[in-house]
């Protein structure tokens, strides 16, 4: 069930100047969360931020009553979220949105870039329970922009591309050799910048592989009430916040 809940800032893990993991804790229990779900976070004490901000749920700990987010500071809200005092109150509406399909796949590829890697921890965790073999393919501009690889490597093989070649293969994710080598994935999950996801979807399509993308449209409500966050699909405009954020790329008018 969706709920509105006050948490407190428990911990920041700084990844670099712009990227951080925010862990919030609560006195009461944390709702069950599925991979791909997100939260609408109220940014406290920020005069020029009016609406909540949608952020994927990175992880939850039902014993410690914590929920965490991987955030890339790109603007007013995400910057402020990175500078709160420990113990300050953060109100979130969650869990929102649909989730990735988990369907006894044998061998899957998770392709992410930027803050798009956030849902992959919960997803990998679920997939592991299903004994699915997981390969991560993470794209970044440069070595300093590659995060969470340690966490990912607990679940599977981690491949990297960087645009400047400073880490992993040089180039864009879609240029990675995994796509040219003997390629036997039965499902691709992708989350990151639109152009990246579109390119991945194209490859998946060519190879007749199911591909799911998690979109990051701008949202006002996050709960299907305003119809602001739509994406065009073959069945008409769909709300990314409730009918997504995860879509089978075949549905999307890309």
């Amino acid at each position: 069930m969706k709920r509105v809940q006050d948490f407190r800032v428990k911990h920041y893990r700084r990844l670099n100047s712009d990227n951080y993991i925010l862990t919030l804790s609560s006195d009461s229990d944390v709702e069950i969360v599925k991979p791909g779900n997100f939260a609408e976070i109220k940014i406290p004490d920020t005069p020029d931020v009016f609406l909540r901000r949608p952020i994927s749920i990175l992880d939850v700990d039902h014993n410690a009553n914590t929920i965490s987010f991987y955030i890339k500071a790109v603007g007013k809200g995400t910057r402020k979220l990175g500078t709160l005092a420990i113990n300050s109150v953060v109100n979130i509406v969650y869990p929102l949105g649909n989730s990735f399909t988990i369907n006894k796949q044998k061998n899957v590829l998770l392709v992410g870039g930027g803050s798009g890697i956030a849902p992959f921890i919960l997803l990998a965790n679920k997939l592991k329970n299903e004994n699915t073999a997981i390969t991560f393919l993470i794209g970044a501009r440069s070595k300093g922009d590659v995060f969470l690889t340690d966490e990912f490597s607990k679940y599977g093989n981690v491949l990297i591309t960087t645009e400047d070649g400073s880490f992993g293969e040089k180039g864009l994710v879609t240029q990675h050799s995994v796509f040219t080598d003997s390629f036997n994935f039965d499902h691709i999950y992708t989350c990151g910048p639109d152009p990246m996801m579109k390119a991945v979807a194209k490859i998946a399509n060519k190879k007749y592989i199911n591909c799911e993308a998690s979109l990051e449209n701008m949202m006002a409500c996050g709960i299907g009430a305003c119809l602001c966050c739509v994406t065009p699909t073959i069945a008409g405009n769909k709300c990314v916040c409730t009918e997504g954020p995860v879509f089978n790329t075949k549905e999307l008018k890309w």
């Binding site: 969706k2 709920r3 109220k42 009016f50 509406v93 449209n217 701008m218 709960i223 009430a225 119809l227």
Partner: protein
């Protein structure tokens, strides 16, 4: 005990707090967060005769204490509403008031006719003020002859109360209010959104796919409050106040200015529980101020 009931054109609402069209979906979206049956009414998302896909993405831009939207009346049409949506929401325990729209008068008529015999629908909101559609929409609400034409046409076919939703994008809103009163409106609701615009200085492009969109939220409250007060003093029919209401104090201000009921819009996005908090806040205020009927607040402004 405070009696929160208010009477809009013969319909008794259990309290003055309703939710604004387009900001509360069809009500069910909020069922996880609040007890929907506590609401005075739900004005559901704008409905047209046929399915509409609405405008292209992006449809939203954040502004100072507000937001612009350019949804463009995305909906599956009146038949889908009546046959598929309404049956699942009719028992939410509150008044369901459809918000109807059209590009031409005939469309409004057809939609209203279809709603006439829907059991449990006791009123409709006639939207003559949507700024986000190419044809019709706001055009009906900013000019007297058009406002009269659509109101009287719907009046002829619809047998229950009609609440006409007015546009704030006019020189004199009392003029429009008076002519729709004359044309048979049982109540007016105001305001709809203000036509606004947002630009991304980096890309040099408009943020909305439609260039302009409708401004809502606390930014517009002072203007909306003024309009409600003006209209309250100009017409005899009840006024439903809308525009930037974020809390009980705002709601009470609108009632003092002359609103018999109020609609909570954009605030639902910031706090999905706000509508119920506003009901509680009004009750509190009445209790503290020795007001036994919330309806005594209406027009209670002391000049």
């Amino acid at each position: 005990m405070v009696n929160l009931e208010v009477n809009i054109a013969g319909i008794i609402l259990k309290n003055p707090v309703t939710t604004a069209s387009g900001t509360f979906g069809f009500g069910e979206e909020f069922a996880d967060f609040i007890d929907i049956s506590k609401l005075g009414a739900i004005f559901v998302k704008g409905i047209t005769l046929h399915n509409r896909e609405g405008n292209d993405y992006p449809r939203m831009a954040e502004t100072a204490s507000g937001m612009l939207n350019a949804v463009g009346l995305q909906n599956k049409g009146i038949d889908y509403f009546i046959n598929t949506i309404y049956p699942s929401i009719k028992n939410l325990g509150t008044e369901i008031i459809p918000n109807i729209n059209g590009s031409v008068v005939e469309e409004y008529i057809e939609v209203a006719e279809k709603l006439n015999d829907v059991d449990g629908i006791n009123a409709l909101e006639l939207n003559i003020s949507c700024p986000n559609v190419k044809e019709g929409g706001m055009a009906f609400g900013v000019n007297c002859p058009a406002a009269i034409a659509v109101t009287s046409a719907v009046r002829e076919v619809f047998h229950k109360p009609i609440i006409v939703k007015l546009s704030p994008n006019v020189t004199d809103i009392t003029e429009i209010a008076k002519v729709v009163e004359g044309a048979g409106a049982d109540a007016v609701s105001l305001v709809n959104t203000f036509l606004g615009m947002a630009i991304d200085a980096n890309t040099k492009k408009p943020i909305l796919s439609t260039v302009t969109g409708g401004l809502s939220g606390p930014a517009i409250k002072p203007i909306a409050l003024r309009m409600v007060w003006q209209v309250y003093n100009a017409v005899k029919i009840p006024v439903v106040g809308i525009g930037g209401i974020m809390n009980a104090t705002d709601a009470i201000e609108f009632m003092l200015a002359g609103a018999t009921a109020i609609q909570v819009g954009t605030a639902n996005f910031i706090d999905p529980q706000v509508s119920v908090k506003i009901i509680e806040g009004i009750e509190d205020y009445c209790q503290k101020n020795g007001i036994s009927n919330a309806s005594d607040l209406v027009g209670g402004l002391i000049l």
